[in-house]
């Protein structure tokens, strides 16, 4: 990974600029891991939220317990669990996918609550009206519920995406070479941690500030009443 790169530790500034290209490669890994994890969290969270609303108490209760368990245990331990236990059962995934899966699992617990809140915020009368109009369950969700909850849940989802980006350094412990893993590696070679770690911190800070500003604009741009799907 580090072959072909040279660093110049004479001054902090030259050091920082010489390792920046490596760190930026790490940044793409960080962003990819967050994107993959977030995609998993969005899908799995929706599945959990819908299962939670199941008419069968056994299903909804089991889902509630699973979600609570995922939410109340550390990402790091879940990651170790997936990384070491899955291969014992014959499922060997690349470290990157294991990491994305762990991120997705942990955050699906959060997103499922967001979905649930969004669905429950649709007034009861509208469900009844949909029944009265003889709309099917699919039609009710497609034409009544989803257009209203999308603008409502987007800001919360955005916040979780930002939070997830900030948690990706944890993946470095299972050999995913994202930004911080690389910074650590450089530190181990040069015995000079201050610059690489500060650089990574600054990039994270910049990233979060940009994302927060983007979210703020998104929140302002969203229609309050709901978006038409067709």
């Amino acid at each position: 990974m580090m072959y072909g790169f040279e660093w110049d530790t004479t001054t902090p500034l030259s050091y920082a600029s010489s390792i920046l290209p490596i760190i930026l490669i790490g940044l793409t890994v960080t962003l990819q891991a967050a994107a993959a994890g977030f995609a998993i969290a969005l899908v799995l969270g929706l599945v959990f939220a819908l299962l939670r609303r199941s008419r069968f108490t056994a299903v909804s209760w089991t889902t509630a317990i699973v979600v609570e368990f995922l939410r109340d245990t550390p990402l790091l331990v879940q990651l170790f669990f997936l990384y070491y236990v899955l291969p014992d059962y014959g499922i060997t995934l690349p470290a990157f996918l294991t990491g994305a899966l762990a991120l997705g699992l942990q955050y699906s617990a959060y997103t499922s609550e967001v979905y649930r809140g969004g669905i429950e915020a649709v007034p009861r009368g509208q469900w009844e009206a949909a029944t009265a109009l003889n709309l099917s369950r699919l039609q009710t969700y497609r034409d009544i519920v989803v257009p209203q909850i999308v603008p409502r849940i987007l800001p919360a989802m955005g916040n979780y995406l930002v939070a997830m980006i900030k948690e990706t350094p944890v993946l470095s412990v299972v050999t995913v070479l994202e930004m911080m893993g690389l910074a650590n590696m450089i530190g181990e070679r040069t015995f000079e941690y201050l610059v690489p770690l500060t650089l990574v911190g600054l990039i994270f800070l910049l990233l979060t500030l940009i994302c927060s500003a983007g979210l703020h604009r998104l929140q302002k741009a969203l229609p309050k009443a709901g978006i038409p799907l067709r």
């Binding site: 331990v77 669990f81 470095s172 650590n184 800070l205 500030l209």
Partner: protein, 221 residues
């Protein structure tokens, strides 16, 4: 019943996890109130300092902060014991999140309350202490409950700076026995149980705050 033999070591780790979590919650609460109050009530300079602290610790990743304090700071001559580093960084991290909770709750106290305090000739400190904070405290408690659980979960990261907490012990036992499923299941259950206990404690505190502390006698006399 092999997993029974893991219990002594794991529970020793769990004690350390509990200790670190509770210390971080306590110190973090102090940081949260200091920064949150500074943001709302402090002058321009003070609130700017608080804003920088909050953004710095919220905007970067906890693991980066931990490594920065653990590996990078000693190079410029500042070093602490690993446990002290762990508690300090975790406290500052959750304190930054907590300060946003404090700020939001303080700002949600209605303007009329402030006007009434003014009419009664309350000073700024008196208004904060007797009017804003007691009401805001009730608002903060649910969010603080979530943050406490978050602190417990995040405390697992201190295992990466060689503190022998629950996660660290789990790692060492796994490396010894290779029984990944048993060790990590037990560890996850351990964290879950600790979360439930913490949740219960936070509910109790919330109830206490709701019942009494929100309207202390001092305000009536």
């Amino acid at each position: 019943m092999e997993w029974l033999s893991y219990l002594p070591a794991l529970s020793r780790g769990a004690l350390i996890t509990a200790g670190i979590t509770l210390s971080a919650i306590a110190i973090g609460a102090v940081a949260a109130f200091a920064a949150g109050i500074a943001r709302v009530e402090g002058g321009r300079a003070l609130s700017l300092v608080a804003l920088c602290y909050t953004e710095l610790f919220r905007g970067t990743s906890l693991l980066v902060q931990l490594f920065w304090f653990y590996y990078a700071l000693p190079l410029v001559g500042i070093s602490f014991e690993p446990v002290a580093t762990g508690i300090l960084v975790l406290s500052l991290h959750v304190g930054a999140y907590g300060s946003e909770i404090v700020r939001g709750a303080l700002q949600s106290v209605s303007v009329q309350q402030h006007e009434a305090a003014r009419a009664l000739n309350f000073g700024r400190a008196q208004t904060l202490l007797h009017i804003s904070l007691p009401q805001a405290l009730v608002e903060m408690m649910p969010a603080f409950g979530n943050l406490a659980i978050e602190t417990l979960k995040l405390s697992s990261l201190v295992s990466l700076i060689s503190i022998a907490d629950l996660t660290f012990r789990a790692q060492s036992i796994r490396n010894l026995t290779l029984d990944s499923a048993g060790v990590y299941s037990l560890t996850l259950v351990g964290y879950f149980a600790m979360s439930l206990v913490l949740m219960l404690i936070m509910r109790l505190i919330e109830r206490l705050v709701r019942r009494g502390a929100a309207f202390p006698r001092a305000a009536h006399s």
